[in-house]
């Protein structure tokens, strides 16, 4: 890395400053949030009322509640009153239970217009919590580049200006801020600084992300984890916030103020031991991270290949987990928060870049995680690990979501193959399958806000319409292969052969992101949920259960990417019952409150329904918006059908009683399509019914009363939608 200019704290002009009273956390809560308006430079402390704690619990629940209160039904993502809320949750910040350092970030999304939420590691969230706040609301629009600094030791919030020469791209900016704002160059002081930032890409594309840093003592530099989905980085930059920084030194075993610290230790140690013993035999997270999934997905025809057209390729082994294991630096405790022994946050060190503004420099690449390796790998028909890593690095530092970027680029490449795009339309970029340099060029153009990158960066929903209108592309085909829901690009699993997973992706609040439900194996491979009712039950339980991680500030991975050795013997192994029990005990150990399995689901259900009604309030949240593009449901093109002809023919025979031998390819495609679309409609009916929603997808007032989400303003939205008024 080239020499970075270093600043002193005095180089950052203080635009506003407010002191606050420091007080220790009690039972996982501060019962106080912080609001910073970068437009008026106002800093406000807000108490958390008991009722808010009871109904919204924390994390994503607090985030959505604060966002609801801070915005209006008419608020657009780029309005000053749109907020970015970073919230943690009561369990977040304990150092004993693996996966306990997550921040939940919510905002009105530039991609979907409705609330997005993203779950991210790094030290910022826990530090903010120990500084004294359960959430941070960022609102307003600054008239100049701004930094918000929360110092938890001093008890002060500062709104700072930006000195000349401060970097934009995260790998430089976060490093620079860490060194400039640390109290001393002592590694412990460097580790006490956590930075949230985006990058130049987020200035020019709605798919901007937030990087959350952590200072890695062993590598002697910063690492970053991403709040990737839905464009929150774009909102940050639209507010002209260069970075948000938390400083806190003095994390201890019981900084979280647990009701029963010894129980927290006991439950955490139990999982540490399970991980140390079983991980090598199970997912190898400690060596490979989530990239361990690559060959599994390829083997099961689930690895997105050429814009989700196919699910496997003979080249699959070239990017298998063992290949990544060799590239990822081994033997480092790569947790994204202290105490995560699952430690999946690996990196490739000393990686020499071949393109772009940092060409020739050696950098540390955070990742790749599975989604990036898949979405920017086989999905682009790229099997060159260097290419995947280069895109990974630049996406992060420019502040661009690798999932949206991968799905967007694969769409562009398919359009190139179909002749919709050509060199003239891409400003000379060759977007043939496998050409990672072409993809990287699109990315550099996005960061520069120039040329083809500006158009490409708008995302597939926009591009599909644009290509039909401007280039005369077949509008239906464009809609079919543009993989998005509600405007958000789909993440990286093939959902075609699993109806339940189509629901897992598209019957979601924020758009097709796999964090609500991952049912492919349960549904397609193990056939455990054959009926619509069973699928609907799974599409109730898993989204609710997984929402709970977001209320608590927890990572999902230590729930089922490590399992007790005897898990398979349980009647419901997919739920990993022993770990659910751990979570309930952990919650009680921290908050001092009991939690039955039913109440755990209810906590989530309240927030889940609230989020759905938030969508409704913003004029969305309708059944029609929960339908996937056909590429996510079945074969769009003739060669796509032919590649799996045996499978599809068999389904025509067995499921529809048709004779494929007597049908033309076109007829077979049509019959398959009609059948699958109808199946999906039946699935929606079953799921909405199970969730207590109307046929159009609106939670009913009765259901809201039943689950305890019967706030007057929430009921009013449901009633207005049902009465046809919104």
């Amino acid at each position: 890395m080239s020499e970075l200019k270093e600043f002193r704290i005095g180089d950052f002009p203080v635009l506003a400053e407010q002191r606050y009273e420091r007080r220790p956390l009690s039972r996982g809560y501060n019962m106080r949030t912080l609001k910073v308006d970068v437009g008026s430079r106002g800093v406000e402390e807000k108490p958390v009322p008991e009722d808010m704690k009871k109904r919204f619990v924390g994390g994503k629940g607090f985030g959505l509640k604060l966002l609801w209160d801070g915005t209006k039904p008419s608020t657009q993502w780029s309005d000053p009153e749109n907020e970015i809320v970073i919230a943690m949750g009561p369990v977040c910040g304990n150092t004993n239970y693996p996966g306990s350092g997550k921040s939940l970030v919510v905002s009105l999304s530039p991609m979907t217009g409705i609330p997005i939420d993203s779950n991210v590691g790094g030290y910022f969230g826990p530090y903010l919590k120990f500084a004294g706040f359960d959430a941070l609301e960022l609102t307003g629009k600054a008239d100049r580049e701004t930094i918000v600094l929360v110092d938890g030791n001093e008890g002060v919030v500062r709104v700072l200006g930006v000195p000349e020469g401060l970097e934009y791209d995260t790998h430089l900016l976060a490093e620079q801020l860490t060194r400039s704002l640390a109290l001393s160059p002592d590694p412990a002081d460097l580790q006490a600084v956590a930075v949230v930032s985006a990058g130049r890409g987020a200035d020019h594309s709605p798919m901007g992300l937030l990087n959350f840093s952590l200072y890695d003592k062993r590598r002697g530099g910063i690492r970053v984890k991403q709040a990737g989905r839905g464009g929150i980085g774009t909102v940050l930059r639209d507010k002209r916030i260069r970075a948000v920084v938390a400083r806190y030194r003095g994390v201890e075993q019981d900084s979280n103020g647990a009701a029963d610290p010894a129980a927290v230790q006991r439950i955490g140690l139990k999982l540490h031991r399970e991980i140390v013993k079983n991980d090598d035999r199970q997912c190898k997270m400690r060596k490979q991270g989530t990239a361990h999934l690559m060959e599994v997905m390829n083997d099961y025809d689930l690895l997105p290949t050429k814009n989700h057209k196919y699910g496997q390729d003979p080249k699959g082994p070239e990017i298998a987990s063992w290949v990544w294991e060799k590239l990822l630096t081994q033997g480092k405790p790569d947790g994204c928060w202290f105490g995560c022994t699952l430690a999946c946050a690996h990196a490739v060190d000393q990686f020499e870049l071949q393109t772009g503004p940092y060409k020739g420099q050696k950098v540390c690449v955070d990742g790749p995680e599975y989604e990036t390796a898949a979405g920017c790998g086989p999905n682009l028909y790229v099997y060159d690990t260097h290419g995947i890593l280069e895109i990974n690095f630049y996406c992060d530092t420019y502040g661009i979501d690798t999932i949206s970027f991968g799905t967007m680029c694969s769409f562009l490449m398919e359009c190139w193959e179909l002749g919709v795009l050509n060199a003239e339309r891409t400003d000379g970029i060759d977007l043939s399958w496998g050409n990672w340099q072409g993809a990287a060029q699109v990315l550099h153009d996005m960061a520069d806000g120039k040329r083809f990158g500006v158009l490409a960066g708008k995302g597939v929903k926009y591009l599909a319409e644009h290509f039909a209108k401007e280039y005369g592309a077949d509008a239906q085909l464009m809609r079919d292969i543009a993989l998005h829901g509600k405007g958000l690009e789909q993440s990286e699993y093939i959902s075609k052969e699993s109806l339940a997973q189509q629901g897992g992706y598209y019957l979601t609040n924020k758009g097709p992101q796999h964090d609500e439900a991952w049912l492919i194996f349960m549904d397609m491979v193990n056939n455990r949920i054959p009926s619509f009712e069973q699928k609907a039950e799974a599409l109730h339980y898993f989204p609710m259960f997984r929402t709970w991680f977001g209320l608590q500030g927890l990572c999902k991975l230590p729930w089922n990417d490590i399992e007790p050795a005897d898990n398979a013997r349980h009647p419901e192994p997919n739920k990993v019952p022993e770990h659910v029990q751990n979570y309930r005990e952990l919650y009680t150990a921290i908050t001092g409150e009991g939690l039955s399995p039913e109440e755990l689901i209810l906590q989530s259900e309240r927030v889940y329904n609230f989020q759905r009604l938030f969508n409704v309030r913003q004029g969305h949240g309708r059944r029609a918006e929960d339908r996937p593009p056909y590429r996510a449901m079945g074969p769009v093109l003739p060669d796509e059908y032919l590649a799996r002809e045996e499978r599809y023919d068999k389904q025509l025979r067995e499921k529809q009683g048709l004779d494929p031998a007597a049908m033309s390819l076109e007829e077979k495609l049509g019959a398959t399509r009609r059948y699958r679309l109808a199946q999906y409609e039946s699935l929606i009916d079953a799921v909405f019914k199970r969730r207590g929603w109307t046929a159009d997808g609106c939670p009913t007032p009765e259901h809201l009363r039943e689950i305890g989400m019967d706030l007057p303003e929430v009921l009013a939205v449901a009633e207005a939608r049902i009465a046809g008024k919104i």
Partner: protein, 136 residues
């Protein structure tokens, strides 16, 4: 050179003098659960003494805050100021030499000070040295 506490199980009679001395010295109370070494009663008058071998360093590699380091003497030490109490070190220790006491913020281990060796009536413990990589 690595300084360490050598344990000679055959000589141990389970009198617990070592644990008492150690816990009094480091925990200011007589409580074997707080001793930096462990006397395991295997039954039939046979005992197994556990103390850090100062050599495997699995805990050193695992500690997220680098609170565990190797001193010049070769002894593996915990810096409490840097420790966040995650107990990852306890989980990775292959012999159970890294210990903790429920509700206390930091784990603890033998630092080869030799207080127990001096007190042991049966010479079951002694401070010894070994070269890097050489097993005791």
């Amino acid at each position: 050179m690595i300084k360490y506490l050598r344990t000679i199980d055959e000589q141990c009679v389970g009198c617990m003098t070592c644990a008492a001395v150690c816990s009094r010295l480091y925990a200011k109370e007589e409580n074997p659960a707080k001793a930096r070494l462990l006397v395991n009663d295997l039954g039939a008058n046979s005992f197994h003494l556990v103390a850090c071998d100062q050599e495997c360093r699995r805990c050193v590699a695992e500690c997220p805050t680098q609170a565990i380091t190797v001193a010049k003497s070769g002894v593996v030490m915990i810096d409490k100021k840097l420790c966040v109490g995650c107990l990852a070190c306890v989980a990775v220790c292959p012999i159970g030499a890294m210990r903790y006491y429920p509700g206390e913020k930091h784990p603890f281990k033998c630092v080869a000070c030799g207080a127990c060796a001096k007190a042991c009536p049966k010479q079951a413990l002694e401070i010894a040295t070994k070269d890097e990589g050489e097993k005791a």
